[in-house]
Point group: C2
Chain length 190, copies 2
């Protein structure tokens, strides 16, 4: 077994696992199903991962790392204009949410299945991501682009964005950018 390694093989297995976890849910996904999807026998799975828990942690870590770096890049690309930053953040959120949909759905809906150790470790990653949001929202409030309680506003925005995975159809006419723009327009003071 490998400790925290990121071999190409393991990355590919993680990607497949994410897909199954979304399709079936973590608990209903058996190690035999995972193995079959990966084209190996169930016993061989435990050469790559210590146990089933570690597969879940790998999926979530991968997705959250991606989201974090994409959001950081998006923020750096735009000037210090609070409105541009708000737009950029919403777009980056939805972009990564649907580019890496499986991993994020797992992160959003199977987080509770993590054991305490993995959860503690990954919480730091998630907190770092949310800190970016808080900063952007604080700036938008200071510039009076939006109004209200900073805590509530950020929760509402993240809720509206995260919930999109439950209804958004990427094959439809709307792009993720359309969604982001519409949401920002909806909450902006005019």
């Amino acid at each position: 077994m490998n400790v925290m390694n990121a071999s190409p093989r393991r990355k590919e297995l993680t990607r497949l696992a994410a897909q199954l976890f979304v399709q079936e849910g973590f608990d209903r996904t058996t190690v035999r199903m995972l193995a079959q999807e990966m084209g190996i026998k169930s016993g061989s799975l435990f050469h790559h991962f210590k146990d089933k828990q570690e597969i879940l942690a790998a999926v979530i870590e991968e997705g959250t790392q991606n989201a974090l770096s994409i959001a950081k890049a998006a923020l750096q690309e735009c000037d210090n204009d609070p409105e541009a930053r708000l737009h950029a953040m919403a777009r980056a959120h939805l972009e990564t949410l649907f580019a890496d949909r499986n991993a994020h759905v797992v992160a959003l809906f199977e987080w509770r299945r993590l054991d305490p150790d993995a959860s503690a470790h990954l919480s730091h990653l998630r907190d770092a991501y949310e800190a970016l949001w808080v900063e952007v929202i604080d700036d938008a409030l200071a510039a009076e682009l939006i109004h209200g309680d900073r805590f509530l506003v950020s929760r509402f925005i993240l809720g509206a964005l995260n919930w999109t995975v439950r209804w958004y159809d990427p094959s439809g006419p709307r792009t993720p950018d359309d969604l982001a723009d519409e949401l920002v327009a909806m909450i902006m003071a005019r």
Copy 2:
């Protein structure tokens, strides 16, 4: 076993099941855990419910029925003022969400575990509830209280509201009504 009965005993068992489903998730909740929580042996459980699936369906049906009747009552109590109706609907949503939190969390996050028959039956209930929302939002759009695409706006609002179950702490200083008012204030054109 009882077909679609709603004896007080069954209602109480359903309430306990909802609590366990929230704590552990549907898949991880075993019939033995359910039985113990109910103070009976696991075999006796199947006198009240045909199978584990039916317990899940009972939990979700109970919660959705409640939400529907509360929302209807709230809408009837206010005049035809679109703004009052928007407020009332948001308040009713959060009120029922936290009065009957366990059932609603199960409905929101364990829906996929329903078998196709139960899902089809309960979808009608949920659709009836969402139809109330669509109507209220259409009126608000017509009155120019809010702006945007009717479909997207309703999804964003419901997303923001439903996501509250992931962070709202009822023992904190804010009431569900506070949340509803803040959300409506956030999205209203000024």
